[in-house]
Symmetry: C2
Subunit: 397 residues, 2 copies
């Protein structure tokens, strides 16, 4: 059993703050500061250009990719880091469409993160071949997988409500219909057990700054199933995805397997923070994470529903049908969340009216959850959201 009291001690959490927004940006692993400093001073400062070899910077996207691979049930050697999640979505989608040239539909759902849909839109427009982005309600996805569908593009956990897709079932249905699957694991990696191999997933992408705690702007990752490794064509064919990047050949030759999904120069400083964050995951069992995440979420729902009748649960009530977050609907949700943050409980708000709370067992315990519910009740019972100071909108909400 994972010892969550020990893992909590590995994070820096500001005094008095209960942090329920690790589903957006995970907190600072204590070891990350020294790791980044080492990278800056001892590696960049002392090794200069030779750091690419001597400090292993060039190999790191694969090394760290493998460590993430373990957390999402991927085969070793089939996950690589780099770029942002949006770019990785584009890569996976471009490769998938190329593999199903006779089909024209990208199937997604209205619970997908908008950037995934935007990237699909941009790709379709660029291709100019009459592809269609078909967006259905989440519960209609399974039924909408027809033989027109080239690929499904779905985020396993809905960023607003936490609703969870049945990855195994949808993947099975897609494959029965001859379609490919791309799974966005942004709210899954580090939040719950993911079994890419077991599900037979074709492609997966995700970010590392949420439950994996890699830091703001930490790199994304991509997985390509081994059976597609040699046929997935890299539309973003950058030099580091070339079979021999330092031969500087005139024409592109895709690298071996997942290596071809690398594009440009790796984000060396960011990878140092991520490495420290991934150290914490060594020895952590995702089934323990899942059990504790459910316990925390259930406790929060129960406490809030008793104390805050103005809030309406917007997440699935059945914990097995939701990820590691709980959302409540409230007309004045934005201001209420600002008021709650002023009380030291950080969650976030998603338009138009959702107050969103993430539960990361690595550093959130039952005492935190009870205290967060008490402070939320204080905000609601005293109608603090009515204060104009909490109503002014910031850029990022």
């Amino acid at each position: 059993m994972t010892d969550f009291a020990s893992t909590k001690a590995l994070f820096h959490l500001p005094e008095g703050v209960i942090y329920l927004d690790g589903n957006s940006l995970g907190p600072l692993p204590r070891a990350a500061a020294a790791r980044v400093q080492h990278r800056v001073q001892e590696e960049w400062g002392e090794l200069l250009i030779t750091g690419w070899n001597k400090a292993g910077w060039m190999a790191e996207p694969g090394v760290l990719g493998n460590r993430i691979g373990r957390l999402i049930g991927a085969e070793p050697g089939h996950v690589v880091l780099g770029d942002t999640l949006s770019i990785k979505v584009y890569q996976a989608l471009a490769a998938a469409l190329e593999m199903r040239p006779e089909r024209r539909v990208i199937l997604s759902d209205s619970g997908n993160f908008p950037s995934d849909l935007y990237m699909a839109e941009g790709l379709i427009k660029a291709l100019g071949r009459g592809h269609e982005l078909r967006v259905v309600a989440p519960q209609e996805v399974a039924g909408a997988i027809t033989d027109e569908v080239a690929v499904t593009l779905l985020t396993e956990v809905d960023y607003r409500t936490g609703r969870l897709h049945d990855m195994a079932e949808i993947t099975r249905r897609a494959q029965d219909a001859g379609a490919l699957t791309i799974w966005d694991l942004a709210h899954s990696a580090g939040a719950l057990p993911v079994d890419l191999v077991g599900c037979g997933a074709d492609f997966a992408v995700g970010c590392t700054y949420k439950y994996l705690n890699g830091g703001p702007g930490a790199p994304a990752f991509i997985y390509v199933a081994p059976r597609h490794a040699t046929c997935a064509a890299p539309a973003l064919s950058g030099w580091l995805g070339h079979a021999a990047p330092f031969a500087f050949e005139a024409a592109y030759r895709p690298g071996e397997g997942i290596e071809r999904m690398r594009v440009g120069t790796p984000p060396v400083l960011a990878m140092a923070a991520l490495e420290a964050a991934l150290d914490i995951w060594e020895g952590v069992d995702l089934t323990d994470i899942r059990a504790q995440s459910i316990a925390l979420g259930e406790m929060f729902i129960a406490e809030v529903e008793v104390r805050c009748p103005m809030l309406t649960l917007a997440s699935p009530r059945d914990p097995s049908a939701r990820g590691s977050q709980v959302s409540f609907q409230f007309e004045h949700g934005y201001a209420a969340m600002q008021a709650l943050i002023a009380q030291g409980v950080i969650g976030d708000f998603r338009a138009p009216d959702l107050m969103r709370f993430g539960f990361a067992p690595l550093y959130i315990d039952t005492e935190d959850v009870k205290e967060a519910a008490r402070r939320l009740a204080h905000v609601m019972q005293n109608r603090l959201w009515g204060d104009p100071v909490y109503q002014a909108r910031a850029t990022v909400t």
Copy 2:
């Protein structure tokens, strides 16, 4: 006049090392370590998710983009940071092709950095509309600009030889022929004066880890001329390029001007290092940089040609025709460079036979140049490249 003795003191350079590879990765600005540490501990650690607004992370790609804009002669508000250079090439190229739908040729040259060509190749393949990547010799570019050419894709300074294109002249010719121009400024930004506005350039892209000293894997930048700001279609249409990213709308609407060239979450840790690096550029005059860079390069060529008859100059002899680097051809260049690095002079090697030396006046002075030439002469005169220890190839050369 820029005081280069003062700027040199702002960099950390390892004891005994003369660093002539800032054209590949600039050295550590002393202030960067503390800046990154502050970002990690005080911003990520203490502000957590609120750092996006409170610490200005979200706005930083534009703020730092503007500071780079000053160094490349761009109008304020038309440069933005993000992703890698390869991705930025793709964005510019996709937008340019869209703007010249009736033309099919991308004109580049054999001196371009291979990743630019690879990205063009990938885009052409994805588009499937019969575009052609026409690669001519550098000196044939101007004559090859016909009315078939949709866009020229050129790196101003050749990464191998340092040969400099005439940006103003080629841009004029391209525009006379109805073509667009994309300038890759990887080896120009911070190396010599660039006047995007004066040249009437359409698009420019570049990286920040070479002469700008932003650190390994520091983000790239892109410039779009104001006259194209509303018609350049972002093929990589990510959420942070959306007109209202946090409205989470179902369909993509491109943001204002250069904002639409943002894609995903900005690289927050990397931007802290870059900010410290850009501070050094405040008050630095690029004409001083250019004059001193030429003086250093001329001195190095003279010293090396006297002392090392086995080396053949591979860069243009006319300093006005080359960037801020000097390359020499030598059959055993790889091993000779390894031997030189063992002597404390770091340059680099580019296949098949080029020894490459970059001169960055911010931290390289005339004494460094003379001493580097002396050590190179020691390597050559004693035939140290013959030692097998220097012949073993590493991954990154």
